[in-house]
Amino acid sequence: MLLIGERINTGFKDIKAAVMNKDGDVIKEWATKQAQAKADYIDVNLGAVSSRPEDLCWMIEQVQAVVDTPISIDNNKPLMLKEAIPVCKKPPLVNSTTAVEEKLNELLPIVAEHNASIIGLVMDETGSPKSLDQRIEVAGKIFAKVLEFDIPPEHLFLDPIAMPLKFMQDQASQVLKAASQFTLFSDPPCHIVCGLSNVSNGAKHKSLINRTFVAMLIANGLDAVICNVLDEELVNSILTAELIMNRSIYADSYVEAFRK
């Protein structure tokens, strides 16, 4: 399971202040904490705080000053990515593109050139699909386009897009079915990823919903997740779901061993 740590995001007040004041310590601290929690990628999101590539590069540099975990660049602007990707010491994950033709044509050459990976959000000009068939169609479009640019399937992370359970209850089961279908696109399959927190948006029992949903997603082929990697209960559920799916080998101390 690939864990993508979501915490370095200017949506959080401390990160926003850190970027505005160029206070690298806050970012370094979250990078270290997430790496210690076994994040496989550390997501870096500049958000709307700035549109200057150097600010995004500065954030990446802060992370890389303390850990060697690969970066997930939370940005979809070609100009920003062209500057930010070369700063990354390891091939990064670009988070993300939609299935909009124009966007794919802009981003995929950059991804291919740098041997990077990319998250493909299953949505297009019309927004997120509501039906299973539409989801598969949109995902198929991204998948075909990725192959067209000679990007190997293992560099694509398809995100079926979780919808808030509280407001769109019927969508969760559609997302699960879609994830399972995406695994059939190729062998070996592309990655299936999910920005998890969306499912619990606005809800009272956020972490319970998150960890229940992630376990169900794993049963349907999910192998990467953008989440709070410091949420131990969540990560324990992920470890356990992977055992239940026989993707890793059980040992009595599997939880403790993960945290070693």
């Binding site: 080998i249 040992a251 101390s253």
Partner: protein, 319 residues
């Protein structure tokens, strides 16, 4: 139409474990022996690296094992002296290292003392210059007494010592850390316990890069298929990135084969099964060849003919 590339791409490498220490390294071995380092399944060299082909360890015991006559004859009179037996293994049978089993220490066999065992280790180390693997007798309580002495006697020689089990791993870790040896981690045909033992070794502060896994061994006809699948699964799991399962693996083929009726009983008891003299070593060789393909890195062998067959098989599998 281009043929699609179906090569498996694994993300992890199996640990490289080196045993033996030369003079410069604080030991007295003529050379060291390294196993592991693979980046793909056994012998699939078109897919990945196989830097160290599997090796043959010559079975030697402190006491003459309860073996059938044809095997004892094949080893020769030297079977009565561990040092001479080891020498013959190296000089005439061409083994890569010696696997010394302290079966005589078992309270049910001869109950040999820790000092006796240590003397055997010292004698064998003096007699041969290849790296040494040292096994206790399998009785936890007794092993806790003999292994520290054996380890001391081989201090600095970078031996592979075991077995470390769920029940006795603390002692084995302590002595191997003190005397700088590597560990054989044993689990009874159970991949989950296998992983757990590795976790325990790691928790006790032992570097898993210095561990060889022993999933126990079953002779052909006595559960070989179970052990085979465990070796295979452990290997693929290690290659997929589970660092707790990325160790080289050892199989005690000689020690197991010569206890089963197919390798022990002659035609008078098994009419139509062919002469034991020929059948026994074949049984051992076939068993070893199977484990070779499951992911065995060190094969402990007893009969010189079986060793020769296995060596040929390994050569044939290499590019």
């Amino acid at each position: 139409m281009t043929i699609p590339d179906v090569k498996e791409r694994w993300t992890n490498t199996i640990n490289e474990v080196t045993i033996g220490a030369t003079k410069e390294q604080g030991g007295t071995r003529a050379k060291t022996l390294t196993v592991g380092g693979q980046t793909t399944l056994p012998f699939l060299t078109f897919e990945g690296a196989l830097p160290h082909p599997p090796v043959i360890a010559g079975y030697v015991a402190d006491t003459v094992p309860d073996w059938p006559e044809p095997l004892k004859r094949a080893v020769g009179n030297e079977i009565n002296s561990p040092a001479e037996w080891a020498q013959k293994c190296v000089e005439q049978f061409g083994v890569d290292c010696i696997s010394l089993a302290m079966i005589g220490a078992d309270p049910a066999v001869k109950n040999a003392s820790p000092a006796d065992c240590a003397r055997v280790v010292a004698d064998v180390l003096k007699a041969v210059k290849v790296p040494l693997i040292i096994w206790g007798c399998g009785d936890d309580e007794k092993d806790n007494l003999i292994l520290p002495e054996c380890s001391q006697a081989a201090r600095g020689e970078n031996c592979l010592i075991g077995p470390a089990k769920e029940t006795n791993y603390r002692t084995v870790v302590a002595i191997c850390k003190a005397d700088k040896h590597k560990i054989i981690a044993e689990a009874p045909v159970d991949i989950n316990i296998g992983k757990q033992v590795n976790i325990l070794l790691q928790d006790a502060g032992f570097d898993l890069k210095d561990v060889v896994m022993f999933q126990t061994t079953a002779a052909l006809g006595y559960g070989l298929d179970y052990v085979y699948t465990i070796l295979e699964r452990a290997r693929s799991t290690g290659l997929k990135g589970d660092k707790l399962m990325a160790m080289p693996q050892i199989c005690d083929v000689g020690g197991e084969t010569w206890r089963v009726k197919e390798a022990v009983a002659d035609e008078d008891i098994l009419p139509g099964w062919g002469r034991l003299e020929k059948r026994g070593p074949m049984w051992e060789a076939v068993c070893a060849a199977s484990y070779l393909q499951a992911g065995a890195d060190i094969l402990v062998m007893a009969h010189p003919d079986a060793m020769q067959r296995l060596r040929k098989t390994i050569q044939r599998f290499l590019p």
